[in-house]
Every structure is written in C-alpha cells, then in structure tokens.
Symmetry: C2
Subunit: 473 residues, 2 copies
Amino acid sequence: MADLPDKAANFIEWYLAVVEAANLSDKRYPVKGMNVWTPYGMRARRNLDRVLTTEIEATGSEAVEFPALIPETEFAKEKEHIKGFDAQVFWVTKGGLSTLDVPLVLRPTSETAIYPIFALWVRSHRDLPLNVYQIVNTFRYETKTTRPFVRVREIHFFEEHTCQLDEAAATARVQSNLGAFRRMAAAFALPYLAVRRPEWDKFAGAHYTIAFDLPLGGARVLQLGSVHHYRDNFAVPYGIHYEGIDGTERTVHQTTFGLSERLLGAIVGAHGDQRGVIFPTAVAPYEVVVIPIPSASTTQDVPSAARAVVEELQRAGRRVHLDAGDERPGAKYYRWELAGVPLRIEVGARELERGQLTAADRLGRKQAIARASLTTEIGRLLAAFDQELAARAQAAFRGAIAPAATLAELKDSERVRAVGWCGDEACGHAIETAIDGALLGTPEEPLDLPVPKACVHCGRTEGVRLALAGQPM
Amino acid sequence: MADLPDKAANFIEWYLAVVEAANLSDKRYPVKGMNVWTPYGMRARRNLDRVLTTEIEATGSEAVEFPALIPETEFAKEKEHIKGFDAQVFWVTKGGLSTLDVPLVLRPTSETAIYPIFALWVRSHRDLPLNVYQIVNTFRYETKTTRPFVRVREIHFFEEHTCQLDEAAATARVQSNLGAFRRMAAAFALPYLAVRRPEWDKFAGAHYTIAFDLPLGGARVLQLGSVHHYRDNFAVPYGIHYEGIDGTERTVHQTTFGLSERLLGAIVGAHGDQRGVIFPTAVAPYEVVVIPIPSASTTQDVPSAARAVVEELQRAGRRVHLDAGDERPGAKYYRWELAGVPLRIEVGARELERGQLTAADRLGRKQAIARASLTTEIGRLLAAFDQELAARAQAAFRGAIAPAATLAELKDSERVRAVGWCGDEACGHAIETAIDGALLGTPEEPLDLPVPKACVHCGRTEGVRLALAGQPM
C-alpha cells in the first residue's frame, strides 16, 4: 500500500487520500460532488449524529422533518435570503411528463420550507419557545472544487430552527446553542474559534452570525457550523405572529443552528496523521478492534479467546470488531490504524497464559492489560486516549494562532492571525486582501490573546477589538 | 373536541381524522402530498426505524447512503424499470441559473443510483454476498389522491439492495428477508399476507415480487412492503460481474427489500379505534404517560411522587412522558388515548397512601399496581398489552379473509377473497374485474385456508392454486 501524502506539506492531497484509503466515502458516483456513504463512513456518521441529537435534545429541542422541495413562491419571500441562494440551488421543473406550474427548489437550507408552517404552529405565547431540529440532506449547486464531507453538493445537514418570545429570548437561545456546540465539540476532541462574522459575511437574512472555525494548519480554517440570530427578519415576511400575555399581537424572534457532515471532515483533518485517520471514541465506527495472533500453542485456543473478548465487550455496550481474517497481524494493524480505530486488542497465546492481553491505542501507546478486568481496562484506556487526543488537538490549536501587528505579517502567513480591527468594513477588506482570505470575525468566547491597541490597517485606537483572519477552506 | 368518523363505515375519513387529531403529520405544507413530520410523528418514526434497522442488521446488512439525484443516463439503463417509473418521477433540470447538461431524476427508488457503484465494489466472490440498506426519502410524482404515510410524494423509505453469488443464493436472501419482515411485523403487532404477485403486477425489472398485504376492513388491503428477486436483470445492464472461485467471470444475482412510512399508516389503520390511535409499545412515541391527580391531601405530595415515577421509569430505559399541565385529568386521558400511548399511570393521593398507583392500558384495562415494584409491573403490563393487541389484530385478520367459489361472490365483497386460480392472466384479470380490485397473488407463507379444486373463472382443475383478491388502497 502506498504512503499517504505529507500532511503538513500537502494537506489537501493528504486529506483526499486518507478519506479514500480509510474507505469513508466513495466519490466515484457519476454526479460531481455527490458521494456515496460507505458502510464504514455511515457508522461514523451515525455516531456523529447521535452526539448532535443527544446534545440538542438536552436543551429542549425536538426532531421534526420538513419536505425537501420548496415552491419558488415560498422560497422568494425573504429578499436577502433568496439573493444569497439564488445562484446555488437545484430546480425541479418537471413532474412525470409535464412541466410544473410552480418550480420547486431542492432545499439548500430549510427556512423557507419551515416558516410558513411555523406561522400555523405558533398562535400564543404558550406555544413558545418553539425549538425543533432536523437532520436531512440539503443540496447546493456548488461550482467550486468539491471535496468529501467538506464541500459537497448533497450535504448531510443538521439544522435547528427556533421561535422565541422576543429578541432577548432569541439571544439566550443563541447562547444555549453555543453551549451545546461546546459539548459536541468536546466529544469530537475539536478545539475551535467561536467568532461573530463581520456584517458582509453573515448568513443571508440574519441579524448576526456566530461561526465556529477550526484551524487546520497554515492560515487555513474550516467552518464547522454556525448559529444565527434572525431577529424578526423572517418572521415578518412569513407572518409568524402570536398573542402575547397582554393580549396584543407580537412577532417572534428566531434563531437557527447549523452543522453538517463537514464535522466528519474536520475530525479527519484535525486528528489524522501520516498513518491515517484517528477517530475520537464517540465517533469511531468501532471503538475497539480485536486481533487474534496466530499461534502453534496447544494450551491456548486463541480464536475462541478472541471471540470471548469481543462478546464480553459487546455485552458491555462497546462497538467492537473482530478481525479474524487470514492476513498477517502486521497488515491488520496497518489497516485499522489507517481506519482510525482508537484501540486495538491483540489476543496472543503467551499473554493469555499470563492472564493478559495487549492493548495498543491509535496514539501509539501499548500496554498489557489483565484479561480478568477487560471491561474496566478498556473503559480506562479509551478515556485516556480521548483525553490525550484532545490535549494534542488543543496544543496544535494554540500553536495555530498568532498575533500580527502589521498587514505585512499577514502575507503568506503560516498561522491564523489575531489582529486589531477598528470595525470599519474598508479596514476589514484590507485585512482580507493582506491574508488572501477572510476576516473571520471577533471572538464570542474568551481567547488567551491580548487585545491589540490599534487597527492593523488604519491605526485608529478607538473602538478597536480583537479580530481573527485566516483562509477559509 | 369532535368525535372521529366511524371507522367501520368510513375508514378513509376516520384515518385522515385520526392522523390529524393525534398530530402525527401536518399536511398543510404547500406542496400536495409532501407532509411535515411533527415532533410526535417523528418519535414514532424513529422507533419504527429502530425496529427495521435492528432486524435487518441482525441478518448481516450494513447501512449505506447513496445520492438522491440520478443522472438520466444511468436511470434509463434497465428498460423495464425506466418504463415503470418514467411517468412518476421529478426531474431536476436546472442548477443555479443554468440548464443541466444531463437532467437528474430525484430517486423514486435507488436501483439505478446504486448499481453503477456495485459494479465497482464487486470484484471477486470474496466480496459476496453484498448486503446493504439505506433509509432515505424517495420521491414520486403521484397523481392519485395523496394520504399521510400511505400515499405521499416524498416517502420515508427503507430499501435493502443485495448482490449474491447466483440465483439460489438470491432466493435464500429473499427467504431471509421474509424472516426479517416476520420479526418486524411481530414488533408492530401486524398480521399480513405474504403473496407472490402475478407477473403483470411485479416490480418493474424484477424476476418476481413477494408483497406483504394487510387487510384493513372490507376487501381493502394495504401493501406494507415487498421483496424482489431480480435474477441478473439489473446486473447485466449495470455490469455487476465478479471472478468466481473457479476464476471465470460471473454475474451476480440481486434482491431488494422495500418498506416505508406506510408501515406507520398501517399501524394506525390496523390498531386504531373510535378513541384514536393505538401504538404497539415498540413504536409508541411514549410507552407510558404519567398523570398526577390533583388532590387536597396534606400527607401526600402528588406532583413530587409523579416526578419520581417518571424518573424511575426513565432510569429503566422507558420512554415516558409526564403530563403535569393544568387540564383536568379526564381531558388528559382523552388526549393521550387519542395519541395512542399504550399505558397511562395515574398518581393519586389515596392510592399513594396504600403504596399503589393506577395503571390503565390503551385497550381499556385498568388495575392497581404496587408502587414498590413499579418497573417490573410496567414491563409486565406493556408485554400483556402488546400480546392482547396482537391477539385482537390476529382475530380481525382471520375474519377479514374468506373463500369464494364463484366470481359473483367477489362483487361488493366485504372480505378479502381466497379463490382458485389456474394461473392464466386472462382468468386473473376476470377475478380483478369481479372484485373491482387486484389479484394480490399466491401465498408464500402457509394460510389456514383450503386450496380450491377449480379456477373460479374458467373452472379448470389442472394447475389450480390458492390466490387472494382484494382492493389495494
């Protein structure tokens, strides 16, 4: 098997190679940017979705599902929104052999599908807050180069849509979403920047947008998701009104929270190394792979012992896979490291004689464990693995961001840059030109960086804030 | 609240009213036949999917997901198949502002999306069997009257696609699917007819089709799903070949197994009564609803006791809902009966004093249970509820099918009819005309009915088999 491209030197090539080699996605489907979820990739996706579902439901959100097709008439109701999406949607124009009276948009996101129905569901203050989410596929007629999980035309998408009593309640929901994302990201061992996007880069139709950006080497960042405060920008055109406690008619304020399969790309990109993918336990298709070591021993039945290990772990609720194939153990180790399984258990005759097994984690740490306390030991090793994975990611994160005091330092930057910004759009664009990327925004969560005294472009000192600049993937 | 229409006299009206009253689906979405999955409906769907997923994975099938859009060029490769679907697909013809070079079909089913990739995945006999399934939405440009869950234009769909070594192995997979469906249907307490469809009614492109039909009163039947043997009908045009053990190139034989949200419609239709939906425990959005009975008692804290009951059941893994609203208990009973929750626990001061709770199941059976053995008692009551629900459905099933010795008996039949059929298509169509419906097919699983001696139409005796006739919904 060929070596992977160098991750540090050729990140994109490495990324494409590792996704393919680990068999997470098959991009040979005959429509550009629409990829096949393989059995192995689907296992990861299912685990990822479980984390999202658990965390969002813990904040009082309920699952729903709205149709994939949106009539043009509904799609066009909010003017900024339609402007933002017009050029990147697929249109259904024919049903059977006839042309449709009203063309249908294949949802690029679901505001315009959901809000006409919200207008029916919300009648009284007693119906609020209304917090619902759906996990569905969305579609974008992407014209840029597509890449598995990161930029695709059919997107596995998580979107929460809420209606709140007023602007303050919507702001509180945004904060609740930030907390939920913090817990999700912890399960994925992903550090990130939570930034308020500048005005010119907010979501089409939003009052403001908070995005989560992951540094991925150099000045490169990947947007992991976003939370939007809509105020009543959609509620007015879609007529989402309610009777307040005082009997007057009021209009809801809304928020949304969007995530996608891109999280899987982020996990691959952030944690992977030259040997392949590294999955955090919560997402790993298998948490543990068990590999019997062939032996001529007459006292130890290795295959049976390996099966017993698997069964015991399954009973304990672990996702475990027995690799009993006839390859040599070294080839299996190689393959499961490429696939990113957190923990490998080697079942060998000599260890069994001593009442032991060998455990090797995907970070290269190997030790003997007592067979008798298998379940406890596996739990301990996986927790230690996750902790170390998070610590390494956190260290990389800290090293990925550096202050810059001049525009010159932004050119060919090997880091994401923290700069002073006066808030003017013209200065923002100058920063973007200098880094050949984007002004990501101003931090919404504390960052261990000094707040600069002056704008990196105009030098003004009043109203200066810390801003991040980088190159979005 | 208004009464439901009479189920026996006006089944369709009753069905539409009960789906709406139980808030399982919202059909006010502005595209005909595309409905909104409400939070309550989604809970049922999630449980239904869990049963399907568990049972199909137990037979060695793995989850995958293929794109929703299929290029016209792939869609047209199998001639019977395209003929069968041509008039009922949605076409995507525009991406952004430009016309697509190759129009894309929004999948009505996924053979033509999956098989070009199967041709890449299957190389050697070691890759077989290949058993994968996906749960996705499919789309049909339905021109008939649409009805929630039963006939819709965006369908929540389960489809297994497999490749097997040869025809016999494919036949064995069909049998495995029949077994899996038997276990799924048992979880839903749904009896059904497994019949081999006549030639003229098989799936477009199939060698043969076995369908599952549920009698729903009168001569009415609802198809719950189907299993198809494709032989190499698709494998040849899509080029799914492999190197056999003997080194020669061979072509796979294929099967598919399709189910949908229609199962939810079937559960509503088969079990529901004049008071509303009745969910089997496996599918119920909530297995148990807990209702505190307001009281002036100074010795018993009813609200706390109700919360404790809920928490104990949640810890035991039960799906339980606390209805602590300020409606009177009778209104709550009415609402949760309408919603189909299997078991209601009433927490009252007097019962608490005696160390008891009141449990009422959705079939109207009420009893006191000991608070101290809550979890065990609930498990016992739910099992008894499911058993009784299945027994009632089984009794209705037996009463729904009756033999007919003459075509005259098929006219305005109040039952699904079992007749003798010689196998000729002309006789089949005569039977269909007589019952104003369809020849459903010949039983694939034993039915407790005598095999007639002569064809009900032509009177011939040679080759006569038992066949079922009814009116598909």
